[in-house]
């Protein structure tokens, strides 16, 4: 299977380990990623707050570039995934907007028809590979690891989500099949605060503190997430929001999945964690 890969800006900086682990996991499962040539920022929530036409043009450029490749887009960042999907939908629903965007792109030789889908790697792994095949390829048992699955807010909240909007279970089922123990975690789709951690820290810190406390009280060894902003908000401010509490490692789901598939920690960017994570010693060795 081949895909057009849209890393997004965060995966080149604070979320580098997401990029590294995603590429590792995809190649281990024989899925080919072709990075979209000269992709640009999706515009995030920022452009959407300022100018709808401008925001749509920015996303549409990337959609048009991906259409040239002719594969579905894989967008790991929850925000990119949501924004690109939203733009694709808006352009089909609103002909006036589509006309404006078309006129802005056309002189650059770009055109969007909406023919490629925008997909999240989690959904790609579940639907195109399947949990059974992934479990069959596993070379490490995650057995003693207690995991809190944090989906974050945006990934399942668009119009046609790939999982339940209030109680998604994709990651729970995937990691259960790999031997992990899922802890009860009622905050799985609660908002991490997003940019509020920078603009209104008193609000952002409170949201992060509640999510972290929920994971700790469930006895989680780690939180697994699908979004760069969730990851940094939950990992980087732990000392500030709860100085005396037990630190909880926050991983991208591809990092834990990569460990199960037998990848080395370095290939998964685990050396970039602020709160270090390692599997229990007895389970760190490979079985064939």
């Amino acid at each position: 299977m081949e895909y057009a890969y849209y890393p997004g800006c965060s995966l080149q900086a604070t979320a580098r380990s997401y990029d590294e682990s995603l590429r590792t996991v995809f190649s281990m499962l024989d899925l080919r990623l072709h990075e979209i040539p000269d992709w640009n920022c999706c515009g995030a929530t920022m452009y959407m707050s300022v100018d709808q036409v401008l925001a749509s043009c920015i996303s549409a450029r990337t959609l048009a570039l991906a259409e040239r490749l002719g594969h579905d887009i894989v967008a790991p960042c929850s925000s990119c995934f949501t924004i690109l999907n939203k733009t694709r939908r808006l352009l089909t629903q609103n002909p006036d907007l589509a006309r404006c965007v078309g006129e802005a792109l056309e002189p650059s030789g770009l055109r969007t028809t909406g023919c490629v889908r925008v997909r999240h790697p989690l959904e790609v792994l579940i639907n195109d590979v399947g949990i059974e095949s992934i479990a069959g390829a596993a070379r490490r048992d995650l057995a003693p690891t207690r995991v809190a699955h944090y989906y974050g807010c945006q990934i399942v909240r668009q119009e046609e989500p790939f999982d339940d909007r209030q109680h998604p279970t994709t990651m729970d089922r995937l990691f259960e099949a790999l031997g992990a123990h899922n802890v009860p975690f009622s905050m799985k789709v609660r908002c991490c605060g997003g940019m509020l951690m920078t603009t209104t820290p008193e609000v952002g810190e409170r949201l992060a503190a509640e999510i972290l406390e929920c994971a700790r009280s469930g006895g989680a060894d780690c939180i697994v997430t699908t979004c760069p902003l969730c990851q940094i908000n939950l990992e980087a401010y732990q000392k500030r929001v709860a100085p005396k509490a037990r630190p909880v490692p926050v991983l991208f789901f591809t990092q834990l999945l990569g460990l199960a598939l037998g990848a080395e920690p370095k290939e998964l960017g685990l050396h970039r964690q602020l709160v270090p994570f390692a599997l229990a010693e007895a389970h760190a060795t490979l079985h064939s």
Partner: protein, 226 residues
């Protein structure tokens, strides 16, 4: 398959969440859309601008379905910190009382997590409506008084319009210099920890077709579908 027994445990607990007060229940009086009110004043410039913004999204048509049940406010993780809760915000929009909403902190505190939109029994795209209000507030500077989100958006757009991509380190530095330079000291420790792990490069690649990218932005700017 969804495990329904587990679903009950999933309802987020909200410490500090307040119960609805009589003030909430009272809400604003009029809830009809300005354009259908018989004998009303002609729509103001502000209303026309809002109708244009909201018309850009499919959300606009859903507004009149609101039954003021308050599920949006109950689902919002930041509602307790808002001057005007999401339920009241929708009522104000329908009553044509846009100014009160534009002057409140509501749209600036919304983190666009879409929890309200997902749970609204009338299918109203509340987040998209708040985006439209936010765009209006930014367009009319009188309503976006040096708010943090406004400044962060400007800093973000400044970087992306030049490079085609965001650069996280520059974004935070630019934003802090324009708002609270002293907070940079507090950010620096985290910055160094991230840099040591290769997570905060100062230089990140720009798009190659920078000219092409800025040309698209130039052509898109100021375009309106109205």
């Amino acid at each position: 398959m969804i495990d329904r027994t587990a679903m009950r445990a999933v309802e987020p607990t909200r410490p500090g969440m307040r119960m609805p007060t009589p003030r909430d229940a009272a809400g604003p009086r009029a809830v009809s859309a300005p354009e259908v009110r018989p004998g009303a004043e002609p729509p103001s410039d502000l209303h026309r601008a809002f109708t244009r913004e909201v018309g850009l999204t499919p959300a606009g048509r859903t507004l009149l379905r609101c039954l003021q049940c308050g599920v949006c406010t109950g689902s919002c993780p930041v509602a307790p910190l808002m001057d005007i809760t999401p339920r009241r915000a929708i009522a104000l929009v329908r009553a044509g009382e846009l100014e009160a909403l534009l002057r409140s902190n509501t749209v600036w505190i919304c983190a666009s997590c879409y929890a309200c939109t997902v749970r609204c029994p009338a299918g109203i795209a509340i987040t998209d409506i708040l985006y439209a209000v936010k765009r209006l507030a930014m367009e009319r500077r009188e309503f976006a008084p040096a708010t943090a989100v406004h400044r962060l958006s400007k800093a973000f757009m400044h970087i992306v319009s030049r490079h085609g991509r965001n650069r996280e380190a520059r974004l935070v530095v630019t934003y802090r210099l324009r708002t609270q330079p002293l907070r940079l000291l507090a950010d620096m420790r985290l910055g160094f920890r991230l840099r040591r792990r290769g997570r905060l490069p100062w230089h990140q690649p720009s798009v190659e077709g920078r000219k092409e990218f800025t040309d698209i932005l130039g052509r898109a700017k100021g375009r309106s579908t109205s």
